[in-house]
């Protein structure tokens, strides 16, 4: 960090008092007004809910939400636990737990069960517990070649370009364009791994971080060397405590083995959906409210502390070692993509499937019987019944980060939609006008099961004008549900 960042200073002082907030502001060199704005923004400084909490994700919404809610004292936003849903948490002032198989497992020990991962290239065939295990799988080869000069930084960028890798975080932007833009910028430059996975229905990054940290780290290091960055930050969703501890251990092992060519550190996220928006993410790292910036300038030109910054999703980076090992042509022939499949299927889990797999085939793999609709992508996603839809980018429907939530015949899809609308209203940062107003209006409309096409068209036209992707996509699921109903 260029300067001490406010968020870690506040974290070190929890529970906060006015004096501690003032002290953190002084150490960070920011006005008390800025610190107070931060404290009144992020949930963990405002105060987390306590007691038994139901994870309010699309699967819980489909499983008799009201009855589930009666067993809880409150709710918590989706946490990448959809494959295990419905799930309850237990929050005390000292510790946060997942209720799992009759036990209270602290966040620091809870990992998604390894058996949920079904794949071969991006997902490890067996748990990788240390550096040796990763090496045994052929890991670190590309990094070694780069260190020996057998592979050049430009060679990495070219391989990514030839592979045609598109960003896996949801926007599907060509990765090589970002790599090249940052490579051309003036130092100091940074790489930020966006590991703030918060999109309902998605748990691919969580799984990779928890079970395959070395793959993610190698990908990040390859990218950093390719663009000439001087530091890598992993911005990890703060609730993924076990993943954070695992990453820190893996970084330590690499450092001890002399395999860390530049500093790498974990930055715990601000704990909100909006923190995954790349510029809001950078704002939070710089110690401000996680509110999106106006673009341009884009982070590749002016990112962290105003420096050229490569912000990439976890899965995107995990593909780099693979592309260099297999060669871009071979990689591309069967382009791997992780799909988080949950809901009414016999075997919910994380499935590595070739891009272009038909939706129906993906569901069949997960053991779906009868499906009335699938939520594709997440909250910023769409309901569909088109099982012949090919799961790839730049098609008729947005793939998002690859979440597929299946709903059986008995499910009230409006209840699921209400959950998504509630999520958007709660997660709107409030910086621009259309989003906080529109998401509040939308929730009321969904609650009264509003189907007036004129109102919906105006809602959509207005949300579309929001500052960032959160607001711009907040009406997609609503619109798609009416289309699905109309087609029925």
């Amino acid at each position: 960090m260029e300067k001490p960042s406010l968020l870690p200073l506040l974290d070190a002082r929890l529970p906060l008092t006015e004096a501690k907030v003032a002290e953190a502001a002084r150490l960070a060199g920011v006005p008390l007004a800025q610190a107070w704005g931060v404290v009144r923004y992020y949930p963990r400084y405002r105060g987390l809910p306590q007691g038994r909490l139901l994870v309010d994700d699309p699967v819980a919404r489909a499983r008799g939400f009201e009855a589930l809610l009666r067993e809880a004292e409150g709710t918590y936003p989706p946490l990448g636990l959809e494959a295990l849903a419905p799930v309850y948490l237990r929050f005390t002032p000292e510790e946060r737990y997942v209720e799992w198989q009759g036990q209270l497992v602290p966040f620091s020990e809870f990992r998604l069960p390894f058996a949920l991962g079904k794949g071969g290239r991006l997902l490890p065939p067996e748990p990788i517990l240390d550096l040796e295990g990763y090496r045994a799988l052929g890991g670190l080869e590309a990094l070694k070649r780069l260190g020996q000069g057998l592979l050049t930084p430009e060679g990495v960028v070219r391989a990514v370009e030839e592979a045609g890798l598109l960003g896996r975080g949801g926007a599907a932007f060509p990765t090589h364009l970002k790599l090249r833009a940052v490579a051309q910028g003036q130092p100091p430059k940074y790489v930020v791994v966006n590991a703030d996975e918060s999109e309902p229905g998605n748990f691919k990054d969580r799984f990779l971080l928890e079970h395959h940290p070395f793959l993610v780290l190698e990908g990040a290091l390859l990218a950093a060397l390719a663009v000439g960055a001087e530091r890598v930050y992993l911005y990890v969703r703060e609730e993924f405590q076990a993943a954070i501890l695992g990453l820190e251990a893996a970084i330590g092992e690499l450092r001890e083995a002399g395999l860390l060519p530049l500093p790498v550190e974990v930055f715990p996220s601000g704990g909100l959906y909006i923190c995954g928006e790349e510029t809001a993410l950078l704002e939070s790292m710089e110690g401000r409210r996680a509110e999106p910036r106006l673009k341009p300038p884009f982070p590749v030109e002016r990112g962290l502390w105003g420096r050229p910054t490569l912000v990439q999703n976890v899965e995107t980076l995990a593909n780099l070692p693979l592309i260099l090992r297999e060669g871009p042509a071979a990689w591309r022939q069967k382009e791997p993509k992780l799909f988080s499949i949950s809901g009414d299927v016999a075997e919910p889990g994380l499935y590595e499937l070739p891009l272009g797999t038909l939706l129906g085939e993906a569901l069949r793999r997960a053991g779906a019987a009868e499906v009335q609709a699938v939520l594709l992508g997440g909250a910023a996603g769409v309901f569909t019944r088109d099982l012949a839809f090919p799961l790839r980018y730049r098609e008729r429907l947005p793939l998002g980060a690859g979440a597929l939530v299946a709903f059986g015949p008995g499910v009230d899809l409006w209840e699921v939609l209400e959950g998504l609308a509630h999520f958007f209203r709660e997660e709107s940062c409030g910086k621009c006008f259309p989003c906080p107003l529109g998401t509040a209006v939308q929730l009321e409309m969904v609650r009264r099961r509003e189907r007036d096409p004129k109102l919906l068209a105006d809602l959509a036209a207005t949300l579309k004008g929001s500052l960032c992707g959160l607001g711009q996509s907040a009406h997609w699921a609503y619109q798609s549900l009416l289309e699905v109903e109309g087609a029925a």
């Binding site: 006015e18 907030v21 006005p31 008390l32 007004a33 800025q34 610190a35 107070w36 704005g37 009144r40 923004y41 909100l272 409210r289 106006l294 209203r425 709660e426 997660e427 709107s428 940062c429 409030g430 910086k431 621009c432 006008f433 259309p434 906080p436 107003l437 529109g438 998401t439 509040a440 209006v441 009321e444 409309m445 009264r448 509003e450 109102l455 068209a457 105006d458 809602l459 036209a461 207005t462 579309k464 004008g465 929001s466 500052l467």
Partner: protein, 199 residues
């Protein structure tokens, strides 16, 4: 530099904002503060993309449209939502704009409101009446980076109910406030207004 605005060729200087060549409504924009691109009332279509005219520079050959059907729907709806949620009785120019766009706020039914918040009287000079606040942040910016560099105002909360506050929520006299009046001056809706105008 030449560009086209609603089909008309327009000439402007390098670095000019689209706002200088496009006739569009604004709310968060103020020449003395750095707030821009927030209210989205000034959105225009530039080469097919929605961009805020207050924060986008003109470019040679740009094709700008200021009043498409979608943009009219957006402005009308935004104004309706603002009137529905916020007390804008001291913002007559917004009322005029709402009427120009044929807005009918009631068509949206019940939504959570900012209206009904108590006005804060914590100093002898001006009121802080956040029932009228649209969250444009001009006051926060004027107090901080934009004009004064005093930092007596901060933002509270998130989403629709976010609004300006003071550091540690203290009464203004207990903050770095120097009562310069800039925040009152830049407030577009009368949420901050001099007590001398109260009867």
């Amino acid at each position: 530099m030449r560009l086209r605005v609603d089909g008309q060729e327009v000439e402007t200087k390098e670095g000019a904002l689209l706002l200088e060549v496009a006739r569009v409504p604004t709310l968060c924009h103020h020449p003395q503060t750095e707030t821009r691109g927030l209210c989205r009332l000034c959105l225009v279509e530039a080469n097919g993309r929605l961009v805020p005219a207050c924060a986008t520079e003109a470019r040679e050959g740009l094709e700008v449209r200021t009043e498409t059907e979608e943009l009219r729907a957006l402005r009308k709806t935004l104004l309706e939502w603002l009137f529905l949620t916020t007390d804008l009785s001291l913002a007559p120019e917004l009322r005029t704009l709402l009427e120009e766009y044929g807005g009918e706020p009631e068509r949206w039914g019940e939504v959570p409101r900012r209206k009904g918040r108590e006005a804060l009287r914590d100093n002898p000079f001006f009121l802080r009446d956040y029932a009228r606040c649209v969250n444009c942040r001009r006051c926060v910016d004027a107090c901080g980076d934009g004009i004064m560099g005093v930092y007596a105002l901060a933002m509270e909360g998130r989403g629709l109910l976010a609004h300006p506050t003071t550091p540690l929520d203290r009464p203004l006299p207990e903050t770095p406030c120097v009562f310069c009046g800039n925040c009152v001056q830049v407030c577009p809706t009368g949420a901050l207004r001099p007590l001398s105008l109260e009867v």
